[in-house]
């Protein structure tokens, strides 16, 4: 039973978070910042999400391939 619960949790962790939780945190932080800028400060920050996503992608790629020549 515990093993099944664990594998169920592992599936959802892999599905939502993926290989690196830091990438998920970066995207969540970008979403929160975008919402704060749009709703509280009145800034239409459409550029923030693409910039953060591409930066996180580059960082994640570099980290995943580091030392693999």
């Amino acid at each position: 039973m515990i093993a099944r619960l664990r594998s169920f949790g592992a599936f959802w962790y892999d599905f939502v978070i993926g290989d690196d939780w830091r990438g998920g945190v970066a995207v969540a932080a970008a979403l929160v910042l975008t919402a704060v800028l749009a709703h509280d400060l009145g800034v239409n920050a459409w550029w923030l999400m693409p910039a953060c996503v591409l930066a996180a992608l580059g960082w994640s790629l570099r980290k995943a391939t580091k030392g693999k020549a």
């Binding site: 920050a45 459409w46 999400m49």
Partner: protein, 149 residues
């Protein structure tokens, strides 16, 4: 059935994507107040996709797996970025047409990342080939002195 591994993988993939379609159809149908039309459109889409899938299965099987993954990754990233920002309260310049810029932009940057990665690997390989051999390594690689005679 002689390949349960392929069956299981395909079943899980279709179930996952199918559930996504169900959620999307219900959400759009409910927000427009016409669940019947949404269900009918979803059913028609199932038929169309199945027919097209059977019709183009041979050329699809020839597409390299990594190329397909790369294209799907670009689309998912672009649409996720678009809807994520929109959900956070942003208005995209040009509305939905912004996707026509966002998808190629993410594709180009991803291609650039791939090229940079390939170049850095090539440079690292060239550097390791050109690196001078240390005296300890040279001694280890040399035949023993009594074997020379």
């Amino acid at each position: 059935m002689n390949d349960w591994y392929a069956f299981t993988l395909s079943f899980k993939g279709v179930l996952l994507e199918g559930l996504e379609v169900v959620f999307i159809a219900i959400t759009f149908g409910d927000s427009q107040g016409d669940l019947g039309a949404a269900a009918l459109a979803a059913a028609a889409a199932v038929v169309v996709v199945a027919v097209v899938g059977v019709a183009v299965r041979a050329p699809l099987a020839r597409v390299p797996e990594n190329t397909m993954k790369f294209a799907v990754g670009i689309m998912l990233t672009a649409f996720g970025t678009f809807w994520g920002a929109e959900g956070a309260g942003v208005r995209w310049p040009g509305g939905d047409a912004a996707l026509l810029v966002l998808v190629p932009a993410i594709g180009l940057v991803s291609l650039g990342y791939g090229l940079a990665l390939r170049q850095s690997r090539a440079a690292a390989a060239a550097a390791s080939r050109a690196a001078p051999v240390s005296p300890a390594l040279a001694r280890a690689a040399a035949p023993p002195e009594d074997a020379v005679h």
